[in-house]
Symmetry: C2
Subunit: 614 residues, 2 copies
């Protein structure tokens, strides 16, 4: 018989019982606590640090490697590595929690004329009699036929229709989604006309409540993607799903639960019931939309990276378990390739790249960066594995864009200053802060073109403040951004040589992607009319810093524009205007996907792209 | 706490435990024994006689009324009336069981060219690679597109597709139903191409396995409709469903279980798996098809008799629980009105009434008789409540068309002779026997035009045999067909005055329906080119007897034709040829339904029709 132990989580005061041998990460999940776990529980990222105040086991392999002596002494451990073999009390530090993230909810405002896929028609029907024995279904169809509509009804609708017609006294509102009659509501409910647009990000999920008659956004809500407890990047999540079919079901359940939570919050805010909603339009990267639909992701995870489906799909809500009206629909946008998803298609719609005359590039910087280049004539897209550095992972003091994360690094008058999100004392470095720090190092010469961090002795002109910050620790050079004394965590915040290497890898991937697309198109950076930065990351980054680090092609700064959460904007367009779905389908089919791993010259281009230009 | 009792059923040796207070009928149902229960458990028909050999309670109301002193002495009781209050042993006599019925499986042979709704296409697909990253779905769609096909795939298909393609090594057979891709099977399975056509009768369910490439019938199986345990006629079943939503679910479960059993038997016979089947085409009266689909029948049951749906429907097998391929389809044919169902539409297709030039009438004699009159120009239909007399119910010694039921009555040389189904000693009268007996009585003058049974004293020319058979019992005149001494049951088989009245009501209803249709059309019986008798009943009845009794309009006998199970034939046509479904839809919409209860003159016509003409 398996033993059961109690694990108490602080500062929540939440207690769960778990089987002997489960990890603290498992226990936290069971307690409903979303923990940082960028590497997906492999013990390689150190992101899931917790402090065990009661019942701590001796440290083992990965904890010994990843944690400092001081941390080990304080009984800090990696939650993914510690197996519960007795009762425990565990404190989860703020930086290990997925919370308080800065989430970009708004995007560019691309107006579309309302042409929703959901229709409501108020009908006053003739009551049946011996002289008019039409079936209940025909009675409704005939009335809709008078208005040029001829929807179909599935058997679940027909089961309800006789009761619904009589409960409404044969006066009510027929609700149609696409070509289907899905409800008959008593009275005139034509004004109760809303839908939800969702951008399912790997990290963050943003949902907008849209008034369908106008396209107006009535409310917006966002949440961390709870799948993050199985890894921060799509590859970790695909690997999790490879363990067995129940893992896919679990991942689907996590995202559906998250959407239901968001729908509930939006409805509360607008005074609606979730069953008043008959459609949700969803975009996301290919893995996210596959997981939402419960589609296998096995073959996305390995070469040649084949998704199950490219087309947009419309799925009945009850079949996904989405808590809108059970006969409502979830429209999931079309994708381009295994790593270029519906979010990219939505971004193209939002930026109107497919209608533009000039040459534009849309860059979505993230763990998987997506790039699209082109215009109305031709569109090329690629994805590039920038790695999780910009999400704060694989960075010594990396963290997500949460309170306490450094997001600005400036050197003025020889003194380095940092700013942290939430105007609180800094405890780590988020992606934006990382770029800021590297950019500052390049400007001050601390890091050279090859990406080597110089010793203070080799930089005679360096200010005293900067020279003092350049230290040697754990066998590598590092720049001290915040000293241990200034930091509430008791550890310093450093930018290490290895961190700079991670940035090189990440920016090299993005830059190489852009270079390949331009080469494929036969153009250079000079030919670009605009570079559009999309995604949450792009909105907080300073373009001169991004360009200095080499994340962007070398274009004049006035050509760089922020388009915010373009994917979310595209999702709202897909919800509000059904003809945009045909456009999306067309874009999805016509964009030429450039598979970087299929190019013989990619490694060479990539190696070059890793250099920091002057 | 409720007590539990054991009820043992003989001759089956089956024992069940039931709660105190449940009826023997409930217990039999729990034991999986299908009992006769024409009145649906009201205690009015006496059809559910059982003998309680251990634990018999004293007889109560309905049993005292319906059973003879001899029966009561033998502890015969009505199973629907006896509540189990202790352990019991119950013997179910053969005539109380729904078994060994004569079921008409074959119909007229109306050839249709095969044009099935299910398609199978063997595909050899290009394997994916970095140079060909099409989604699994696109890969299949493109190959089918080359053959002019563009099916859709639902999310459950897409969940399986990646695994199915790889398991098949990218060579396999795409199966489509209508416009949907529903399976990808390894290898070439284009020859494994079958479907099922089903006629769900109130009493009997007949299923045919059809080879779709040829339309050939590969096997046939039939079964009693297990819903009969809740009443023999549709009205009893509707009343059962009115008790609550679980009753509708129960009724649906019974018929789906029956279909699954038939599908299993057909597949066993043909060496197929049920999941090899991708479509079933089903017809039945409106109540039967509603119950199969789980649609509410409440409003069919009361004026103005409104069905939920008239249109034909195609429902996904897994949604109905039908054990063919889960993504297979059940096509349920369109209906005409609440009491003129898909079986009548199928009968029109099979007899090609909608294409005929001459004037024809199709008569389906049953508890609910359906009549259709017309030709390619115009079609009229009505239903008429003949009552359950022809099913053997409400008849003193009535029984179903099972072994021992009298089906022939002849008077030759003044002597009356009877024949029973199965060439066994007679124990009761089935519908055909009833018509034969009444017809013989009319011929010999025992019953006059008014339907009055004469006393022997008033019939001076009557033979000695017949005179001896005319008796007076329980306050009414009766003709003794089989004496108690000759009968294994210990009771005689009589045709009573009340039985004759029941026949008058039934035949009056049929005849009046025919008269109204002809009046509505502005024709007389002389204008009829053919009278087609459909249904199981029609096949065993002798036309001169049916005409003598007044079941048929007065036409020369050579104009009377048997078309057997025309509904079943129509179901096979609907399965084998998808364009027949459009025809059925057209017929369903264009047939004019004449509601007899809506006609002011119906009672008058009906009263006249009850007379026995010379």
């Amino acid at each position: 018989m398996s033993k059961v132990h109690r694990v108490r989580f602080q500062p929540f005061g939440r207690e769960v019982r778990v089987l002997d041998g489960q990890t603290i990460l498992d226990a936290a999940r069971a307690a409903g606590i979303e923990m940082n776990s960028p590497c997906g529980g492999k013990g390689t990222c150190g992101g899931c640090r917790v402090e065990i105040t009661q019942g701590a086991p001796p440290p083992d392999g990965p904890s010994l490697e990843r944690l400092t002596a001081e941390e080990l002494h304080r009984n800090v451990r990696l939650a993914c590595q510690v197996r519960v073999t007795g009762d425990m009390t565990v404190v989860i530090p703020a930086e290990t929690l997925l919370f308080d993230q800065q989430i970009l909810e708004t995007g560019i405002d691309t107006a579309v004329s309302p042409e929703p896929n959901v229709r409501r028609e108020f009908l006053r029907l003739q009551e049946p009699g011996v002289a008019d024995q039409r079936s209940d279904h025909d009675r409704v169809l005939d009335a809709l036929g008078d208005r040029g509509l001829s929807p179909e009804a599935d058997v679940t609708m027909l089961r309800e229709l006789p009761g619904a017609l009589r409960a409404a006294g044969f006066e009510g509102t027929a609700v149609m989604v696409g070509d289907d009659l899905v409800a008959f509501e008593p009275g005139d409910t034509t004004a109760r006309h809303f839908g939800v647009a969702v951008d399912v990000g790997t990290t963050t999920v943003v949902a907008s409540l849209i008034e369908l008659a106008t396209g107006r956004q009535a409310a917006v809500a966002s949440s961390a993607n709870p799948q993050a407890s199985h890894g921060d990047d799509v590859v970790s999540r695909i690997e999790h799903c490879l363990r067995g079919p129940s893992q896919l079901t679990e991942m689907q359940g996590l995202i559906v639960g998250c959407l239901n939570d968001l729908v509930g919050r939006l409805c509360d805010e607008a005074g609606l019931r979730p069953t008043d909603l008959f459609e949700a339009a969803v975009v996301g990267n290919t893995t996210m939309t596959h997981l939402l639909l419960g589609l296998p992701v096995d073959h996305i995870g390995r070469s040649p990276f084949i998704p199950a489906v490219r087309e947009g799909l419309s799925v009945i809500a009850r079949e996904l378990g989405l808590a809108i009206h059970p006969r409502g629909r979830i429209y999931v946008g079309p994708t381009i390739a295994g790593y270029v998803g519906a979010d990219t298609v939505a971004g193209i719609l939002a930026t109107r790249l497919h209608e533009t005359d000039g040459l534009r590039m849309v860059i979505d910087i993230g763990t998987n960066g997506e790039l699209v280049l082109g215009n109305r004539e031709r569109l090329l897209a690629c994805s590039t594995a920038a790695g999780p550095a910009f999400e704060g992972a694989r960075i010594k003091y990396g963290m997500r864009a949460a309170a306490g994360a450094i997001d600005r690094v400036d050197i003025a008058d020889g003194r380095l200053r940092v700013h942290a999100i939430g105007d609180v004392p800094a405890v780590g470095l988020c992606g934006t802060g990382l770029i800021e720090a590297v950019s500052a190092c390049l400007e001050s010469g601390i890091v050279n073109e090859m990406g080597l961090m110089q010793a203070a002795a080799d930089l005679p002109g360096l200010s005293q403040d900067l020279a003092a910050r350049l230290i040697h620790t754990n066998g590598e050079t590092a720049l001290c951004l915040v000293s241990a004394e200034q930091c509430s965590t008791g550890h310093p915040v450093l930018l290490t040589q290895r961190d700079v290497r991670e940035v090189q890898l990440a920016k090299g991937a993005m830059f190489a992607g852009a270079a390949v697309l331009m080469a494929e198109m036969g153009v250079t950076a000079d030919d670009l009319d605009e570079v559009l930065l999309a995604g949450a990351f792009g909105n907080y980054i300073r373009p001169e810093r991004a360009r200095r680090v080499g994340l962007l092609p070398p274009v004049p700064l006035e050509k760089v524009k922020f388009v915010g959460n373009a994917a979310g904007t595209g999702a709202r367009m897909l919800l509000a205007n059904r003809s945009q779905r045909r456009t999306a389908e067309h874009v999805s089919r016509s964009v030429h996907h450039v598979e970087l791993s299929g190019r013989a010259d990619f490694q060479e281009i990539f190696a070059e792209a890793m250099l920091f230009g002057a």
